[in-house]
């Protein structure tokens, strides 16, 4: 279960409200892609603190290693070479869970308490409740959760909720040698970002900006981007992420519709039976067609009853 200091704002597959009285401040991790040197110390720190060991891969010709997120790699550096204004730029983005204010994973999850959103904004998976259906993978607009081949449970960055609970910054933040990753209250992080963005804009990056997409209610992992007008340059960061409309219908409208449909079928049957009554094939037909022991008198009686009806 969650630590006491981490109050839960939302809990997967739980229709009733969670305790709402306390209001801790929202936290955020700010990743400044303009300061990142791609050293992957954050990957190592994550691996160490969370006791994860991805299999040693092979060089595939680019710096990305591991090449993708997995249950053993909750954060990976993604490297992309682009030409902007005739200049080669090497855009490096630390990928991982964005800790959305409106988390698609939590919305999709069918298992009560397998995914929680703490009041400080951290979205955490509680694997002991995970059933391995992978709905969170379909719900996520950022393609972040991964099933473990070892136990068929979903894993992702938890923003070191255990460290944050005791007043420490996440391991990646602690280890970053250039200060590209910072951690604090969301309010403070926005302020830090604005200072940095003003600086970048004054130095020629006129499209520099903060990535805190409103489509998912804002995120608790934010990026400073040199090209905030083109997030896709950063290894496919979505331009305007939101929970898929298909997931919205599945987890929204379909439920009341289904309830109505199934209830209508059941109630129709019940009321039909108690008003119209059963549909019987009368026995007198047997008599008419020469079934031996049925006396003709009985047949007549039945006919009369039928006429009366």
């Amino acid at each position: 279960m969650a630590l006491q200091s981490l109050d839960i704002l939302r809990r997967s597959a739980t229709p009733t409200p969670t305790p709402q009285a306390r209001n801790p401040q929202e936290v955020a991790k700010l990743i400044d892609t303009t300061v990142c040197i791609g050293c992957k110390a954050c990957q190592v720190a994550c691996s160490e603190w969370n006791e994860l060991r991805a299999e040693v891969g092979t060089c595939v010709g680019v710096y990305d290693n591991p090449t993708d997120l997995s249950s053993q790699a909750w954060t990976v550096m993604r490297f992309n070479e682009v030409e902007e204004k005739g200049k080669l730029e090497w855009l490096i983005r630390k990928d991982g869970c964005m800790h959305c204010a409106d988390p698609g994973c939590l919305k999709a999850c069918p298992s009560p308490g397998a995914i929680v959103q703490f009041k400080n904004g951290i979205v955490d998976f509680h694997q002991e409740n995970c059933i391995g259906c992978g709905y969170c993978i379909s719900g996520c607009p950022f393609n972040v959760p991964r099933l473990s081949p070892a136990d068929s449970k979903a894993y992702k960055c938890n923003l070191c909720s255990d460290r944050v609970a005791v007043g420490q910054e996440p391991a990646c933040v602690k280890t970053c040698p250039t200060g590209a990753i910072q951690f604090g209250s969301k309010e403070d992080m926005i302020e830090v970002a604005q200072t940095r963005i003003t600086d970048l804009q004054s130095r020629g990056y006129d499209q520099a900006g903060l990535y805190d997409p409103a489509g998912v209610g804002g995120t608790h992992v934010m990026y400073v981007l040199h090209h905030a007008d083109k997030p896709a340059l950063y290894s496919g960061l979505p331009d305007n992420p939101s929970i898929s409309a298909v997931v919205g219908v599945w987890k929204g409208m379909l439920k009341p519709l289904a309830t109505l449909g199934v209830a209508a079928a059941g109630l129709f049957g019940f009321f039909h039976y108690i008003t119209v009554g059963p549909n019987r094939a009368d026995d007198e037909d047997e008599a008419d067609h020469g079934t031996p022991p049925a006396p003709p008198a009985q047949g007549t009686k039945h006919k009369e009853r039928e006429n009366a009806l």
């Binding site: 391995g132 992978g134 059963p278 022991p293």
Partner: protein, 210 residues
């Protein structure tokens, strides 16, 4: 044994076993599926022991149901081709609801045929969408947007099927003597003459006296 009853064989033992395999699978799948669909019914995953077991077992039971249903499809498809009389039946469904017979019905009436094709459609949608969403074996081979559509289609077609099965079960209860066809395999002459007169003539060679 009652000698008074004249009976007609409607379903042989193999057909009955086949039907009840599908039925038992359906009930297990509907219970566990509703548990995955409605948070308040999550406890119904207990039908398979634990939530994790329910998630693991549900798709395998689904495959058994599909295969058993496919056998039924090949048994009954040719009996369920919809003709003009069935359309008349469907148009007069209000009369039918009052307990009156409409038309010279053969082995199956318009409602039963319609139900058959709704079930066929749902079963196909459920299998295809179920395989696409099946973790950890198959979902990884499909792009996430496709899996999202599959999950929606799976839930929607399952709910259509559940509502349809409620109608199917109710119809069998309402038209008395029908359950016996799928339990003992037989129906009475009276039942057949009343509800399926053309089929009655075909199997007995008798006139129904209309």
């Amino acid at each position: 044994m009652k000698t008074s009853e004249k009976l007609i064989q409607r379903y042989c033992a193999a057909e009955r076993i086949n039907h009840w395999i599908v039925a038992v699978c359906f009930v297990l799948l509907a219970i566990s599926g509703l548990a995955f669909f409605y948070p308040a019914f999550f406890w119904l995953t207990g039908v398979f022991g634990t939530p994790q077991l329910a998630r693991i077992v549900h798709p395998f039971v689904g495959v058994v149901m599909f295969l058993a249903f496919a056998r039924q499809f090949f048994r009954y498809a040719h009996h369920n081709l919809i003709n003009k009389e069935d359309v008349t039946w469907m148009m007069s469904v209000k009369e039918v609801m009052k307990g009156n017979e409409v038309g010279d019905i053969g082995r199956y009436n318009g409602g039963q045929k319609g139900m058959f094709w709704v079930m066929v459609l749902c079963m196909i949608l459920l299998l295809v969408s179920g395989v696409i969403a099946w973790r950890p074996y198959f979902a990884g081979y499909f792009p996430i947007p496709i899996i999202r559509v599959a999950l929606l289609v799976h839930a929607a077609s399952a709910l259509v099927l559940i509502a349809s099965i409620i109608v199917h079960v109710y119809a069998a209860l309402w038209v008395q003597g029908t359950i016996r066809a799928m339990v003992e395999g037989v129906v009475t002459h009276a039942w057949a003459r009343k509800h399926h007169p053309r089929w009655f003539r075909q199997v007995t060679g008798k006139e129904t006296g209309h």
